[in-house]
């Protein structure tokens, strides 16, 4: 049987950005590449990186020459498909429609796949600026247009789009090719902005999920939000937990006698750093021989520093700012308890990484990883009293500490990207059947 051909649409991709989305896309891509022929299309890729198992294409790396060359190879199929497609591919054309390129109802002569000035501008846009800059909306639209055009040129069986930035592109490609669309939900506007979140990003998420043939949330927790806050049919929703790449765990002896409780993540409301502070204050009141460390940066950093000072936690509550991977691992190697009090966390990969270091976790019930780490101690994110009790228990009860850490070790052996890829593969097969 021929291998399935999958076109993946991603946004950030390591090593360029090491956010949770990029890491998850890479992990899943590597595992899926063992099962399918995979092409990953992203706005920007690093010229130095070459992934052996799959084909990663950054629009910033594309030249018109390459496009034309690709065009030459796939001319027939591309245009055979294009011919069947009504000219809706450039619904956002900003050059009055006169520049609509590449889409002709008849094959052009020779190498004539003329990309318009618009397309050239769109490509240029991915070479500079920030992926999540103020022109994010424009980038999303440009990405969908260029992706749709590129999709014309190569054959594939399934489209798999990751998060709302690529949903529009996914829908465009689906309309152009009539191939089934899978949208993968790593995070929602609901997580970032709360349950009343509405606006164009929410609309795009909803539109993408409506048009998709299957929605893959990274947890049942996120699946429930998709049902209740986005009104999707539960039958279309197939949660697949993220995996965690094994890390080389090691232990470091702390340079100070106190126990260490770690918060790791972007300092935004979504991650609940305020609740971490509140929890820390409660623990320190009972047991001053603890250091709480906040690793990460974000809009909440300064207010959090000030709140900590106001509560007089300064010498117990530390801020590291942004840390690279190596420093994060150094920190994990000396951590006694990991705390993730997220207000809404679709998954929470960092808790799995902590588990690999043998660190027991106290996590909010509003997180996807709570479904994976069955032995972790849990509390509602607002219940700082219970959260503090859990931390206090783990710090003072060595037996409990060992038991929770051991359960976490068992849980993570099952949480692999291969397991995730197998589930995704099954979904693909059902869709093309």
């Amino acid at each position: 049987m021929n291998r399935l051909r999958v076109l993946k649409l991603g946004w950030e991709f390591p090593p360029l950005i090491n956010g949770g989305l990029g890491i998850a896309c890479l992990g899943l891509s590597r595992a899926l590449a063992k099962l399918v022929d995979l092409t990953v299309l992203v706005p920007r890729s690093s010229p130095e990186t070459d992934f052996k198992d799959f084909d990663l294409r950054g629009l910033n790396q594309l030249t018109l020459e390459k496009l034309k060359a690709a065009e030459g190879r796939y001319q027939y199929e591309s245009f055979a498909q294009v011919r069947n497609v009504p000219v809706f591919l450039d619904p956002y054309a900003d050059d009055g429609g006169g520049g609509i390129s590449a889409i002709h109802s008849e094959p052009p002569a020779d190498d004539e796949i003329a990309f318009s000035a618009t397309t050239i501008k769109q490509l240029e846009a991915f070479k500079a600026g920030e992926l999540y800059g103020p022109d994010l909306g424009g980038k999303v639209i440009d990405f969908s247009k260029v992706a749709a055009k590129l999709a014309m040129q190569e054959p594939f069986d399934v489209i798999h789009a990751h998060d709302w930035m690529t949903f529009l592109a996914g829908v465009e490609v689906k309309k152009a090719t009539r191939k089934p669309l899978v949208v993968h939900v790593h995070a929602l506007q609901y997580d970032r902005a709360g349950s009343t979140a509405r606006g164009w990003i929410y609309d795009l998420e909803k539109y993408g999920m409506e048009e998709a043939d299957c929605v893959i949330p990274v947890s049942r927790y996120t699946g429930d939000i998709i049902t209740t806050h986005y009104g999707m049919n539960p039958k279309k929703i197939r949660p697949v937990h993220n995996g965690a790449d094994p890390v080389e765990a090691f232990a470091t002896k702390k340079k100070f006698p106190e126990k260490l409780v770690l918060f790791l993540g972007r300092l935004t409301s979504q991650k609940g750093p305020d609740f971490f502070l509140e929890t820390a204050a409660r623990v320190i009141a009972k047991n001053p021989h603890v250091r709480f460390v906040v690793a990460g940066t974000g809009e909440k950093l300064r207010p959090l520093i000030e709140s900590g000072a106001f509560r007089g936690l300064g010498a117990h509550f530390h801020f590291t700012g942004f840390l690279d991977k190596e420093k994060v691992n150094d920190l994990l190697s000396m951590t006694d308890v990991y705390c993730m009090p997220s207000v809404s966390e679709p998954f929470g990969l960092s808790a799995l990484e902590a588990a690999q270091f043998g660190i027991p976790a106290v996590i909010s019930k509003q997180s996807g990883v709570a479904e994976v780490l069955k032995g972790a101690l849990k509390a509602d994110y607002w219940d700082t009293e219970l959260m503090a009790n859990h931390i206090h228990d783990l710090l003072t009860d060595d037996h409990l500490h060992a038991r929770v850490a051991e359960q976490a070790r068992l849980d993570i052996t099952a949480a692999t990207w291969d397991a995730a890829a197998t589930k995704v593969m099954k979904i693909y097969e059902e869709l093309i059947r």
């Binding site: 000030e306 000072a309 010498a315 530390h318 590291t320």
Partner: protein, 399 residues
């Protein structure tokens, strides 16, 4: 016509390393030695050395008629001893002319008075000893860090044996009266309060180099005329020494101005006096009430430059809270390390004020932001506490 009393502040803090979390428990060096040495040298080349040379020449040329005072903090004396003994020699030579008086202050240029009477005593005593050892001088006039002053400080300085104490002449305390007289604080018997003439001091300390100032460019003759036109017994011109050559570079003409000023003052018929001479010459005309604390910093002229936000309040409180335990351990190095963390500049750098005052804070800070200043300081404090506990355990002191 009033006399003219001139005093310059000489101080450098010990700036901390970018002391991140990973250094806690491991790195017992807190100060950025390279930076401290470099800044001292830079300021010495631009200000201390040329200004000392200039004033020594002026003293000699005027047969002792030109007189002034310096207050030199313990921290900057230590820095000069460590990194630039030649600069300290230059100060010693200037003081040896006999026309340059020294003032007493807290050794560590700290806010100890606000937090601990005992630590305040200890630091003033240390500073007196240092001046005795380095300059063979015992000051008669006290000036608290950054002119921090209230009725209690005046009373305190009196019980310590000083004849004069300095303060910022703020309008809300003067209540329409002139700063150009000596004053008497309530509940004091004989100590006299010298008030800084804000307007004329800041003309020289800040506005001199500002081309947008209507009086720009200021000449020595014009300034001497302003002094001569003043009512009162003595005009107190108090400012940072670094205003000559560092805050205002040589190319602003600041050195030329000072070179010409003694003669201009002389020709205008005025006399130079040192603070202790002023205290001797004039009686305290009336009572000066300062129930709340004043200082010469920021437009508020209060403690908000160092204790205005929660980071500053926590940091300074946490340092002082260690006092009893640190002194009980009686380890000279640990005590000195702790005391250097009381230097007011550490808290000044944590200020989050905006506007003109904010930009002055920013000019002096070695850190990217007040938040970094706070984080590094608190990390250092955490490490200091670990060392303190180890020392306590070694000595079998109960924790």
């Amino acid at each position: 016509m009033p006399d003219v009393c001139l005093y310059f502040q000489v101080h450098q803090p010990n700036r901390l390393l970018s002391y991140d979390f990973f250094k806690i428990g491991e790195n017992a060096v807190y100060e950025d030695e390279a930076m401290n040495a470099e800044i001292l040298s830079k300021v010495a080349e631009k200000c201390y050395l040329p200004a000392n040379r200039m004033f020594q020449r002026l003293v000699e040329e005027n047969d002792g008629r030109f007189r002034m005072a310096l207050s030199i903090s313990g921290t900057v004396i230590e820095q000069m001893q460590r990194y630039r003994p030649d600069v300290l020699e230059s100060f010693q030579s200037l003081v040896a002319t006999g026309s340059v008086e020294l003032l007493a202050e807290t050794y560590y240029h700290s806010l100890a008075f606000v937090h601990s009477n005992k630590e305040f005593d200890r630091q003033v005593e240390m500073h007196l000893q240092k001046l005795e050892e380095v300059f063979h001088i015992r000051p008669r006039v006290f000036r608290n860090t950054e002119l921090i002053y209230n009725d209690a400080i005046a009373a305190k300085a009196e019980t310590m044996g000083f004849d004069g104490v300095m303060a910022e002449g703020v309008q809300w305390n003067l209540d329409g009266h002139s700063p150009n007289f000596l004053y008497r604080a309530p509940t004091t018997a004989r100590i006299k309060t010298l008030l800084r003439n804000i307007q004329l001091s800041d003309d020289l300390g800040f506005r001199f180099s500002d081309p947008a100032w209507p009086e720009y460019p200021l000449t020595a003759e014009k300034f001497a005329r302003w002094l001569a036109a003043c009512e009162g017994d003595v005009v107190n011109l108090f400012m940072d020494y670094e205003a000559i050559g560092e805050h205002q570079w040589a190319d602003t003409g600041i050195f030329k101005f000072w070179e010409a000023l003694p003669e201009a003052v002389d020709e205008a018929g005025l006399q130079w006096v040192t603070p202790s001479e002023a205290v001797e010459l004039y009686r305290a005309s009336r009572e000066y009430l300062s129930g709340s604390v004043t200082s010469w910093a920021d437009s508020e002229r209060d403690l908000s430059a160092w204790m205005g936000n929660v980071m500053q309040q926590e940091a300074i409180e946490k340092v002082h809270r260690l006092e009893a335990e640190i002194l009980a351990v009686n380890d000279p190095e640990l005590t000195a390390t702790w005391a250097k963390m009381q230097t007011s500049d550490h808290f000044y750098w944590m200020s989050t004020k905006g506007g003109t005052d904010g930009s002055v804070h920013t000019y002096f800070t070695p850190y990217p932001s007040p938040y970094d200043a706070y984080i590094y300081f608190m990390n250092v404090l955490a490490d200091l506490q670990i060392r303190l506990r180890r020392a306590q355990e070694q000595q079998g002191l109960s924790v």
